[in-house]
Symmetry: C2
Subunit: 165 residues, 2 copies
Amino acid sequence: MRLTTKGRYAVTAMLDLALHSDNGPVSLADISLRQGISLSYLEQLFAKLRKQTLVSSVRGPGGGYRLSRANDQIFVAQIVDAVNESVDATGCKGKNDCQSGTTCLTHHLWCDLSDQIHDFLSQISLAQLVSRKDVRLVAQRQENEQLVHAGEIDQSSKINAELLN
Amino acid sequence: MRLTTKGRYAVTAMLDLALHSDNGPVSLADISLRQGISLSYLEQLFAKLRKQTLVSSVRGPGGGYRLSRANDQIFVAQIVDAVNESVDATGCKGKNDCQSGTTCLTHHLWCDLSDQIHDFLSQISLAQLVSRKDVRLVAQRQENEQLVHAGEIDQSSKINAELLN
DNA sequence: TATTTAACCAAGTACTTTACTAGGTTATTT
DNA sequence: AAATAACCTAGTAAAGTACTTGGTTAAATA
């Protein structure tokens, strides 16, 4: 199966998007800062998410990304599928040619497992994640951290603004 | 999560072992031929399986490997765990330090998924796999192929034996 | 007792993927 | 016109996978 940091990053970024979609589009720079994912890597991931029409983009200043559907219509499995080729525990992508053209001994086992994982992740929407206590807690912490960082800049700029008067 | 060809190979090899354990220990050379896995790679995998006491070895001619427990006491999850470090969908191995020392937004989601996968694979024993129709079918095919290959040698050696009389 | 067998062991390597960097161009707002 | 942020391409260090090579050791067989 293909479920690595790549898929985790994609889901984390999409959840960040879902959490901050109140005030217009969210820039990848913001997500990068909050979630600690490199901006350029996010760009590559969002290119794939856009191709699968999970997000839509707005260019220019104040631009960024928006979910292309409602919270409860985007599921974790779709996000993971978008950035990896597939959520698939078999080595042959279900083609039954695992062992030099023929079915390998454990082919069906991995098919069953793939279904299991896919079913599980297909049932979890971004809306569900947004409403989870543990998610809200982490999101809160991240917003506080962001305020502290932004606060330092804001304070100095406020001071500068006062000095100018 | 860490569920790649490595784990698949290990489970396939262990299932082969379970299927052919009637007539004494099974050599890795046999498993290599039947399952199309390189002998040296199998040696590396079985070194780990032996460390986890899933198999025991018999050296010398006629030697090979045996399951160290009954069929129904060895589970797929144990095999996968033995060759990889862990069956773990989180990036931090459950240590909650996914995002530079702190918990990432989706940490709990991946914990849930890990549990899900582990539960699923913990319930499937080698005995269960051995009794599956699809497994028996593939095993039958592989044994036929082996007989064809061995048959060529056996036939010529039988002819040779007859000529000697 | 010599030979064969097969486990056991160590080092290295081609290949792939991941996560990221660098260095752009294009569209849109201010 | 300048700034912003999406969009795009190429390259790369690090890690893991699957495998090869070339041994050594223990046990059965001839």
